[in-house]
Structures are given as C-alpha cells and as structure tokens.
C-alpha cells in the first residue's frame, strides 16, 4: 500500500525530470541548430513528459502522501479551477483530444509556422507548451481509468485511439523523411557540418519522429490494454 502511495509522486518527478532534460542547454542548443535534435526534443515532450505527467494524476492530491490539510487545500484549488474551466470540459472527450493533438502536431509542422517558431523564442515556447498540453489531453483517456472517469472503456477503443494517432503521426513523419528538398528553410540559414547537411538532418529528424514515435505507441499499447475489461 505504501508503495502505491509513492507511485504517482515518482511519475511526477520523472515527468519533471524529462522536461528538465528536454529544456537543458545541451539538447536545447542542439535543437536550435539541428532539425533532428529538435524532433527528439519534441518526442521527449509529447511521448515521455506528457504521459508521465498525466499518469502522475497531479489533479488528485489524495493520491499523494501529503498531510491531510495540504491535500484538502489542493483539492479545493482543483475544484475551483474545474469550476472556472467548466466550459472547456469538452476537450477532455477522447475524440476531441485526438483531434486537438493531431491538429496541434500538424499545424506546428507547417513550414511557415515552424520557421517562425525557430526564429522567435516566444512562438517557440508557445509551440512547446501547446505540444505538452495537447498530448497531455491525448494521453489522459488511456490512463484515466474506466469510461465513467473519462477514460477509454474497452480495449477496442484504446486500440482504435492509438492506431489512429500513430497513423497520422507516421504520415507526417514519412512526408518529412521522404521529402527531397529542405522543407523548413530556416535551417538553410544555419551552418550545418559536412557530415550532416540540412537535407540529411531533416531526413534523420523525420525518421526519429517516425520510428521512436511508433515505439512509444507500442509501449503505451502494452501498458494501456487490460487483461479483463
């Protein structure tokens, strides 16, 4: 029982650690220069930090080993926030979450917007925050328990949800990987080493997004499916 009490805090710490790693200087500065590093950073945000933070259930202070008074105070804050955000509750629906996460992913990969984010830091921050938020919404139904609590109720719905998301992500990654020209022209202005010219960097980035993303979906499938529905 005691170990279960530490499960959610441990996930929260892991999620925050992944966020710290994603925004730490070595990776962050590489991500500014190389598309591949940038895609790896995005993967950390969408496929590691976001699901860990969701699985940590920070909205349930009762699940944390906190003093009773603190837990009650946090629960009150949560309830107040829930009342304020009542109008946005529709976003918790699985279908809406899938559409939002897909839209956010594709919109930020439109060349003009991507290049804008690369040269304007506030836009870049907005991009990263939207990735974390959209994919937190996306992962929630898989880890939120049964249908009554807004989770996906059956293995079929979990499978359809995961495969639909994996396919759209694969298509985007394949289009980037197989493009025979540099799609994100901002990288043409950044000097690249001879061993990794801009086009090869783009292909590597697309492949990282595609292959690693698929592995993440596969791992999540193993975790999210139930032996008994």
């Amino acid at each position: 029982m005691a170990r279960r009490r530490w499960k959610h805090p441990a996930m929260l710490v892991c999620g925050l650690a992944v966020l710290a790693a994603a925004f730490s200087p070595p990776l962050d500065s590489l991500a500014d220069r190389f598309f591949a590093a940038h895609m790896f950073q995005h993967l950390l945000l969408m496929f590691a930090a976001a699901p860990l933070l969701v699985a940590a259930r920070p909205w349930q202070p009762e699940a944390y080993p906190l003093p009773q008074a603190w837990a009650e105070r946090l629960a009150a804050v949560r309830d107040r926030c829930a009342r304020i955000l009542r109008g946005a509750a529709f976003m918790l629906h699985q279908g809406v979450a899938l559409v939002i996460s897909t839209a956010v992913l594709w919109i930020w990969h439109i060349p003009a917007l991507y290049d804008l984010a690369l040269v304007h830091e506030p836009v870049h921050v907005a991009e990263h925050l939207s990735f974390i938020a959209a994919f937190a919404l996306f992962w929630r139904p898989l880890f939120a328990g049964d249908g009554r609590s807004g989770g996906l109720a059956s293995n079929l719905s979990r499978a359809v949800y995961l495969v639909a998301s994996a396919m759209q992500g694969s298509l985007l990654a394949a289009l980037i990987t197989f493009s025979d020209r540099v799609v994100y022209r901002a990288y043409l202005a950044i000097p690249h080493p001879r061993a990794l010219p801009a086009l090869a960097d783009q292909q590597l980035g697309g492949a990282i997004m595609w292959f690693s993303g698929a592995l993440c979906y596969a791992v999540v499938a193993g975790l999210a499916m139930r032996s008994r529905e």
Binding site: N155, L156, R158, A159, L162, V163, A166, M167, S170, L171, A174, L175, T177, F178, Q203, G206, A207, W210, F211, A214, Y217, A218, A221, G222, M225, R226, S227, R228, E229
Partner: protein, 492 residues
C-alpha cells in the same frame, strides 16, 4: 465439468471480440491490398499502365500487405476458436494487434510515399542498393515495419503457447506426446482438440520463424547504421526465406484450424484428434521449416544437401496437410447431409484451393521443373491459389460464421451465390496465372509484351467477379457487425 464449461461467458465474449477485431481488420486490409493487386494486373494487361517504379512499390505493398492481412485474419480466427476452451489474455492479443497495425503503416508509407519497391522479399542487398529508386530511409522504414509485424506475431505466439500449455498442463500434454508415443494406448482422454494442437504447433514454429526473421533483419539495421559493412548474401537469403516462407505457411495452418473447429457445427460430426491427426500435426513442427530452400534452387552456391532437404521437405509437408485437412475435411462433408451455407461453401473452396495450390507448389519444388518454372508466373499462381482460395476462404468463412452466430443474422440466396462466385472468380484468376506460367511469362515484370497479355486481360475480369463477391460478403458482415459485437458468446 468440461474444460469448455470452465470459461466464464464474459471471458468468452472478450475472446470473440478480439477475434472479430482481428478478422475485420484483416479482411479490410485484404480488400485494400486486393485493389493494389488489381492495379498490377491492369498494368500488365496494358489496360491501365503505371510507371515501372510505381509498379514495384505497389507490388511490394501488395505482397507484404497480403501476407500481413491474411496472417491477422487467421490469427483472429484462432482466437475465436480457442476462446471457448482456453483462457487467453486479452491484453497480449490487443497489444499484438496494435503493434501489427503500426508496423503495417510503416510498410504503407515506405512504399506509397517513399517508393520502396524491393518486393516482399526485401532481399539483401537490394533494400540499401536501389540505385536511387528509393532512399535508405524508405528501406529502413519497410524493414522496421516488417520487424514490428514479426514482433506482434511473436507476442501472439507466446500468448498462444502459454495458454495452450497452461490449459493442457504441460507442453507434452499440449502436443499429446504421451498419446502419440504410446500409439494411442495412453492419454486418449486428455488429447487436445485439433485446433488446440494446431495452436501449439503454430506457436512453436512462430517463435522459431520470428527468430529467423531477426537473424535476417537485425544485421540489415546494423548495415544501415554503419556498424557492419555487409553480410553473406546466401546466409541472409536462407534466413529471409526461412522467415517469410514459413510465416506464409503458418498462416494457412492457422486458417485450416478454423475449419477443424467450425465444420463440425454444420456436419454434426466431431473432428477428433485421432492418432494419425496427432502424428501429422506434430510432424508439421519440423516439416513446415524444411521446404523454404525450394526458393533457392537457382542459387548455385547453395549446398546441395539443402537443395535436397528443400525438395524432400516440400513433398513431406504435403502429406500431413493432405491427410489431416483435405481427407479429414472431405470425410466430414461426405454423406453428412450438410446444407451448403456461406461458411461451408467457403470452407469447401478453401479445401480445393489448398489442394490445387499445394500440387502447384510440389511441382515447383521439384528441382528440374523449378529450374524452368521458378521465375515464371507459375509461382505466383501457386501461392495465390492457396492464399486466395485457401487461407482467405477459410478465414472469411469463419468470420461469416462467427458474425452470423453472434448477431443471429441469417443468410440469403445472394449470400450463397456470392460465396460461389468468389470461388469462381478466384479459380479463373489463378488459372490464368497458371496458363501464363505455362507460357513461361516471367514474374515480377512491370510490363508485358502483347503476346503475354491475353491471360492478363481475362484474369482482370475474374478478379472483378471475385472482388464484387467478396465485397458483398464483407458488406453483409459489416451490417451485422454491431449486433455481433454486442451479441451473445458463441457456443464453445
């Protein structure tokens, strides 16, 4: 209390639903991949010409996609058949399905977006030596997709093996070895059903097959990563065919098990695990691994003993298939008073297809014949016969049976006519491929000269008949799917 009665209805429901998901997804993939096959035949017939590069990408997708789809459908059928008696873990089954679909997506995008066109064999060193026809990433994506499908099949096989062994109380009992080696004097009461035996046999061979695939695929990734410069091409080809050929064969064994379990519902006769059946299915564990060298007869560097193994193995594996499935199936039907319904029509077509396709395979596996026929359309003729008219007919028949049983829906004269037309169209299609093979028309040619095109044109018409019939049956299943999903568990 029987073993079947020990399964709770809700567990049976879970198995049926997983089976439906596999069957429906596999069937839908088969229809889509069939359209790509039609595009190839239209191109070869000169009726709708596409660029050669595009043809090879389509050929690659059609080949890999059809194997993956047939495998999925047969896997689903086996889940449905076993679910009444053996406790399967839904988590493993659904994870394998998701993994398999993600892997299939890789192949779709590698071929349609990345123009990967090395064929379903993805034979080394072709994937990474395309002379600019596709990128290294396209090859990697296709190989990675195949790896994911293989891993999904491995998960499925491990679950099948765990479940059948746990149900029987040990691997020896799951294979009825005591009964086998005592010549039927001991252990008769605890012999698993033929479908359970097939499940254990396929699971064992499936693990071996995926390991063979890993021996081929892992070095390809190492080459792509620059860790090694190359591998022995003959070594790679042996393992590739041990993987691919055996996987294709296991699909048919899985599909045949659906007939063992379902045909008795219609004939009223039990399909027993008699001593010859137990012997035949146990022999399959070894025999199914042996025929693959018949794809390497023209590789002069291949050791002669492996060529001989290929020929003997190809002949040998036909014996249990013929005795257990063909003779057993005909024995079930003969004078049983069975009514011809969609499922039984498709099972009968499947028995016919497996027989004719098997004879075609045995002919091609004969070394002197193979030297002349192997690179002609004779080879696609034989594998289309036992896939289209064998494995697919069995799986579709079972899907129709399962959906009908769970939804309570009946069938019409049109349904039965569609089932016969499917067989007629399929038979005409493969006959034209055999005719082309007899004319020594080379296979894997994007463009055919005018003299080769008349069988191509006739085959297009037959494909159309088959496709319409299959779409009709698929449409009926789709209409009843919701009711079947919510319906009652099928009787074990």
């Amino acid at each position: 209390m029987t073993a079947a009665a020990q399964i709770q209805p809700e567990r049976r429901d879970e198995a049926d639903r997983a089976a439906l998901a596999y069957l429906v997804v596999g069937f839908a993939m088969l229809l889509v991949m069939g359209i790509f096959g039609l595009v190839m035949r239209l191109d070869q017939a000169g009726l709708w010409v596409i660029a050669p590069d595009r043809f090879y990408a389509v050929m690659t997708l059609h080949g890999i996609g059809m194997v993956a789809a047939s495998l999925l459908a047969a896997m689903g059928g086996m889940i449905g058949v076993l679910g009444g008696t053996v406790r399967l873990d839904a988590r493993m089954l659904w994870t394998a399905l998701v993994l398999s679909l993600i892997g299939s997506g890789f192949v779709v995008f590698a071929t349609l977006v990345g123009d990967f066109g090395a064929g379903w064999t993805v034979l080394y060193p072709l994937p990474f030596d395309s002379q600019g026809a596709w990128t290294r990433w396209a090859a990697l994506a296709a190989l990675f997709g195949i790896l994911l499908v293989a891993v999904a099949f491995l998960l499925y096989c491990l679950e099948l093996l765990r479940a059948t062994v746990a149900h029987a109380g040990g691997l020896g009992r799951a294979l009825a070895l005591d009964y086998l080696f005592s010549f039927g004097r001991r252990g008769a009461a605890s012999v698993p059903s033929p479908a359970q035996l097939v499940a254990t046999v396929v699971a064992i061979d499936g693990v071996v097959t995926v390991l063979a695939g890993a021996v081929y695929l892992v070095p390809q990734f190492a080459i792509a990563a620059g860790l090694i410069s190359g591998v022995n091409a003959l070594f790679a080809k042996n393992f590739l065919y041990l993987f691919g050929h055996t996987l294709a064969n296991l699909t048919i064994y899985l599909a045949a098990a659906l007939v063992y379990a379902t045909l008795p519902h219609y004939t009223g006769r039990e399909w027993k695990s008699t001593w010859p059946v137990v012997l035949g299915l146990n022999l399959v564990i070894i025999l199914v691994l042996l025929p693959y060298p018949h794809h390497l007869y023209q590789d002069f560097a291949q050791p002669i003993w492996l060529q001989v193994v290929g020929q003997i193995g190809s002949y040998g594996v036909a014996v249990p298939a013929f005795l257990v499935t063909i003779i057993g199936g005909m024995g079930q039907i003969y004078r049983s008073g069975m009514r011809w319904q969609v499922a039984t029509i498709l099972f009968a077509i499947g028995l016919w297809g497996w027989t004719v396709g098997g004879i075609g395979a045995v002919i091609d596996a004969t070394i002197p014949v193979n030297q002349i026929m192997h690179n002609t359309l004779w080879v696609p003729a034989h594998f289309h016969t036992y896939y289209l008219l064998g494995a697919l007919a069995f799986s579709t028949g079972y899907m129709y049976h399962l959906i009908g049983a769970r939804s309570g829906g009946g069938e019409t004269t049109f349904s039965r006519a569609a089932a016969w037309l499917y067989g007629l169209g399929g038979a005409g299609f493969v006959l034209m491929l055999f005719v082309s093979g007899g004319m020594s028309v080379p296979r894997r040619f994007a463009m055919h000269i005018a003299a080769w095109q008349w069988p191509d044109k006739i085959s297009v018409a037959f494909v159309g008949v088959s496709a319409i019939a299959l779409a009709w049956l698929g449409g009926e299943c789709l209409i009843r799917l919701k009711a079947a999903w919510a319906g009652q568990a099928t009787p074990p």
